[in-house]
Symmetry: D2
Subunit: 89 residues, 4 copies
């Protein structure tokens, strides 16, 4: 049976303790992630109060996070060409 472990108290053949440990550890990490996301939100709020534009700031951050800068540059050049080709300024 899935997740069966003989020396573990089982419910419906499931190693209940093992399952609970897995779920608890996963959720602890989820809560840490949520705390970090809240901190990021605070940074954007701080930036907005300093006069920066949140939407553009996110675009900037995506660019900074882009690993392959050369590929990014090629795409941007091509996008400009496509835009001019169909007259979308």
């Amino acid at each position: 049976m899935t997740g069966h472990n003989s020396n573990d108290p089982a419910v419906g053949g499931i190693a209940a303790d093992r399952l609970r440990s897995i779920v608890d550890r996963y959720i602890r990490l989820e809560e840490e992630k949520k705390a970090l996301a809240a901190d990021q939100k605070d940074i954007l709020t701080e930036a907005a109060s300093a006069g920066f534009d949140k939407k553009v700031l996110r675009q900037l951050i995506r660019i900074v996070l882009t690993k392959d800068k050369a590929a990014l540059e090629t795409e941007e050049t091509l996008l400009d060409i496509y835009r001019r080709a169909i007259g979308v300024g």
Copy 2:
């Protein structure tokens, strides 16, 4: 050059007419999709006014759309076992 087609007026080597046709056709389909999505929204609004719960209705629709009903049943059975194993009613 990408999308280059000799007998097509080109901008930066791009077959401008071909690109415009591609974009126009894609966008026409996008607008049709948006119209259908608006109709779906109307159906959910109608359902809500008839007393149905929109969130649960979406869950029901997801279940009906699930191709592999046997797999769905197996998952639901397993989820029940996992829930009982860690005491999440």
Copy 3:
């Protein structure tokens, strides 16, 4: 009871026929949307075989679909300023 309609055969107090009609109509629209999405995929495949870059093409389409072109232009100008300010070419 939710969705209760006295002259409709009910299951658990639910107007079953009304619910089925709602679900069927919603799903018919969902299938039409899927067909349109498949057509869009074909257009992108055609574009790629004509030498266009799919990723950049999607970016172009997003720009064309943007209603507020003035806002888009302002954002793009600001993004350039932010990029130069922190030296991200």
Copy 4:
């Protein structure tokens, strides 16, 4: 000008140092989040090797994370009624 701060070296009127600090802090948190997500992935991989079903495990975790258990129970009861009403086992 957006994000202008007189005693900060400016580029296009932008407080460059302030912007860089904001971006750097945000990205440090993003990398911490990615590390936590990688740890979560490891836990699911461990769970799978112990015989648990990843997809069902995620559903279980979503249920455990649901704050309002009473609302969840109401939804599940209603979903059962809707399913029986239209004969979707």
